[in-house]
């Protein structure tokens, strides 16, 4: 059964769309990650124009971040002061991402930029998962958790413009969260992914926030940024296809529920490693495709865009 996407102006198989949404939701529920970087490349590979994928994905992130992030808010694991700084700088990032995409589209480089940044994203996600796992193994082998300082102080914390973040027990330069928030925002605007994969490690390792607080705060940022991304994609590029977005949301919600339920019964850690290796190979594949000469006879050597 096919369904016509009113803005992308083409029809696609309804069940494939739902299935892709389900897959993204399942992994995000199972591993506790945002599913954007899984669904985006699959949807693009399925043939939906990248710009529609990215813009419609943004609202899927809003809903999945709300359903997953509200519990952190209820447990008071959100540093609102930090979130405010991250949102303000993130908005600049989102808007630059949206305009950058608009520009890349006009010169026909959007596909390349999206593939290249996906490679980057997938490498970051998979390597950070693997490092995390190795750290976990190491602390288990030693039997005791290493005693550490609350957080490391490095030179970036000492830059001018120091601000106190009371809930995070931090007194650091404001430029650090501004930079981090801006970069994460750029990913939201340009790639339609949540940016949590870059924000959470940065908040934990670079800024030195406690992990749970970092996750809760990043959800707060992602919720606001993805909503702003939806609005600006709709306003600037007219690419938010709510039919596509609706199926991604529904698939994502159902998938996430199943994924998180299943995670109770299965040891996630080993699977997590397998999953990150899968992501790593995915990124290698995408990178490989960028370097390999296209098939002269294939139909995707050329492509056509109607200028409305």
């Amino acid at each position: 059964m096919s369904i016509y996407l009113p803005l992308a102006e083409e029809s696609y198989n309804l069940f494939v769309l739902l299935f892709i949404g389900l897959t993204g939701g399942f992994f995000s529920g199972f591993f506790g990650i945002g599913g954007g970087f899984i669904t985006s490349p699959i949807l693009i590979a399925y043939g939906i124009p990248p710009t529609f994928v990215i813009a419609s994905q943004a609202s899927q992130i809003t809903s999945s971040s709300f359903s997953a992030g509200l519990s952190y808010w209820m447990k008071k694991q959100v540093d609102f002061r930090m979130a405010f700084v991250l949102v303000i700088s993130g908005v600049v990032g989102v808007l630059s991402g949206v305009f950058l995409l608009h520009y890349l589209l006009s010169i026909g480089l959007a596909d390349f930029a999206i593939s290249a940044s996906l490679v980057f994203v997938l490498i970051i996600v998979s390597t950070s998962t693997i490092i995390e796992y190795i750290n976990l193994l190491r602390s288990r082998l030693k039997g005791i958790a290493r005693r550490r300082k609350l957080h490391l102080h490095i030179w970036v914390h000492a830059l001018p413009g120091k601000v106190r973040f009371r809930s995070s027990l931090l007194y650091i330069s404001i430029w650090l969260p501004i930079t981090v928030g801006g970069v994460a925002g750029l990913f939201v605007g340009l790639l339609g992914v949540g940016g949590g994969f870059i924000l959470i490690p940065a908040l934990v390792y670079l800024i030195g926030m406690p992990t749970l607080l970092a996750i809760g705060t990043s959800f707060a940022q992602i919720i606001v940024l993805s909503m702003i991304a939806t609005i600006s994609h709709a306003y600037i590029n007219t690419t938010v296809d709510i039919v596509l977005s609706f199926f991604l949301i529904i698939g994502g919600v159902i998938g996430a529920v199943f994924g998180s339920r299943l995670a109770f019964f299965i040891r996630v850690e080993v699977l997590r490693i397998l999953f990150s290796l899968l992501l790593l190979s995915g990124s290698v594949f995408i990178a490989y495709r960028l370097f390999v000469p296209p098939d002269i006879n294939s139909s995707n050597l050329f492509h056509l865009v109607f200028v409305q």
Binding site: E10, S63, F66, S67, T230, V240, P294, F302, V305, V307
Partner: protein, 263 residues
Amino acid sequence: MSESNIKEDIVKTKPLKILVLSLVIIFLGFFINYKPIYAKENILTIDLTKSYIIVDTTYDGSELLAFGISPDNQKYDIIVLMTGPRLDMRIYTKQRKAGVWINSLVNTFRNIPSYYFSTSSSPIDEIINEAQKIKYGLDFDSYALESGTPEQIKTLKIILTNDNLYSVNNSSLISFNNNLFKVPISLPSLAPTGLYTVEVLAVVNGVVTQQATSSLWVRKEGIDAFISKVASEYGFIYGLSWAFISAFIGISVFFIFNFRKLK
């Protein structure tokens, strides 16, 4: 009143009566002898099984039939042509830059039929010359020559063919039943919305002698039309409300699945 006056009156009124009477007879005769226009000989007509196509949520392209009457098909050849709304098109190709293959713009074509379908009862180059082809829009290249080189036009045709938006067919598509003909046409879901025209030309000795046209509207209707109208005209409100709807869905999902825990 004198006799001569009466005679004069008769003389005056008689032609009028005759005129009225003959008009009535002609009028009645038109009805009595009415023959459908297509029954007349040597008249070329064309029509489509649909006069509009509604693009809605379940739209997945459309199959239609062009049919009509051709004049004596021993003597004439017919050409059927369907074209879509004229649009600007950009074509890109993969090019190697700094080791990576990226899309680069090949050309922007201006005012090109977004859909092009033609078929003829004999190979088109045998029945009509180049000047006539251009005159009647039967030469796709002539649409594109102003904004592209022959090489680029060749590429454009390959892409359009792959997307089922361009096809020049042989005579096998036209089927005749005496002087009735029909041609199946399929419109892919990628074909843009707008006004499509279908034309039939009767050709004899290399000259187009008759021509008939019909048209087809491909338009969005219902919820899809509403969505694309709101999205393009009120983008900000559209984005804002969808952002809040998705937020609402997320919040509801949270409360539905954490209901027990929250208690």
